[in-house]
């Protein structure tokens, strides 16, 4: 779902950058106050793991493939803001080192794959009772991919309409194609994310406590910072 250069109308591209930069500034401010040094290796390890996981496409039928996005996993494990920074790092390096996703479209890619996914990954499981947490994680992961793809289809449609067909893709093609394929990719995302979290709960339960650390202000001299 990495948008390349030249696909979207410049107005849509600028809107994507504005949203991504706003999220980046908020994330840096929040994480700067709350991150602890002991959380750093886990965040870096998660970013690196998501990088290689995104290289492993799996077939979903009809000559199409999908891969783990990892934003719901990052949002669930680290909280939405630290999760976004992890995803921004992955997307930035994919773009600058390997040309995966366009440089001009990086803002849109950050919005579609990092911001939406991390927010859903954190808040959807929280809305459900503790005993339904696994279902919540699966639902969050599926929604992260499906809503991200639907937003991407909306950007394609908007670009097409704004530019009179010079950019983007007609809504009659973009919406059904993106939504159908990503409804299937989302199932893979849900299974991989839920499986990873269940595995971590057994072999490294401490990792599941990092979220609490990155979402709680650090106290200095008994005062919340």
């Amino acid at each position: 779902m990495h948008i390349p250069d030249g696909l979207m109308d410049p107005t849509v591209v600028i809107a994507g950058w504005l949203l991504a930069m706003a999220a980046l500034v908020i994330s840096v401010r929040v994480v700067n106050k709350r991150i602890e040094r002991r959380s750093v290796p886990l965040m870096a390890m998660l970013a690196a793991a998501i990088f290689v996981a995104q290289m492993l496409n799996f077939p979903i039928g009809g000559g199409t493939t999908g891969h783990l996005v990892g934003a719901a996993l990052a949002g669930y494990l680290l909280g939405p803001f630290a999760g976004m920074l992890v995803m921004f790092t992955v997307l930035l390096l994919q773009c600058l080192m390997f040309g995966d996703g366009g440089v001009t479209a990086l803002g849109l890619n950050m919005f579609n794959m990092a911001i939406i996914g991390c927010l859903l990954g954190y808040y959807v499981p929280k809305m459900l009772p503790k005993k339904a947490e696994k279902a919540g994680i699966f639902a969050a992961s599926w929604l992260a991919v499906f809503i991200g793809a639907t937003v991407c289809a909306s950007e394609l449609f908007l670009s097409y309409e704004i530019s009179g067909g010079a950019y983007g893709i007609s809504g009659t093609i973009a919406f059904p194609a993106m939504m159908l394929s990503h409804a299937l990719i989302g199932i893979g995302e849900g299974l991989l994310t839920t499986g990873t979290i269940m595995l971590l709960a057994k072999v490294a339960p401490g990792v599941l406590k990092i979220k609490k650390a990155t979402m709680t202000p650090i106290k200095r001299g008994g005062v919340d910072v």
Partner: protein
């Protein structure tokens, strides 16, 4: 997580990538993802990139594995330095 735990996690991730890449080359290599298929259906071709990246993901198992390892290491280092920079003033943490 203690230092040995990080080393084990690193080896597990690279091991899974090594095996997963076999499956990728058997089942998925050469097939487009959801957006690429949508662009293909609409007859839209990928335009000229605004930036020339120094690497690509490779076109065989070995080159893709090397590029994956390179990306993994770069993300680990860049992410680590960036997150460490953010957390530096907070120290180990007191809550």
């Amino acid at each position: 997580m203690y230092k040995k735990g990080y080393l084990i996690a690193l080896l597990v991730i690279l091991g899974l990538f090594t095996f997963g890449l076999v499956g990728f080359y058997i089942f998925s290599a050469g097939l487009g993802d959801g957006l690429e298929k949508t662009m293909e259906d609409a007859g839209v071709e990928e335009g000229e990139s605004a930036y020339k990246a120094p690497f690509d993901y490779g076109n065989n198992y070995t080159s893709t594995w090397i590029m994956g390892f390179l990306g993994f290491a770069a993300t680990l280092v860049v992410g680590g330095l960036m997150f460490f920079g953010l957390g530096k003033k907070n120290g180990p943490g007191k809550r």
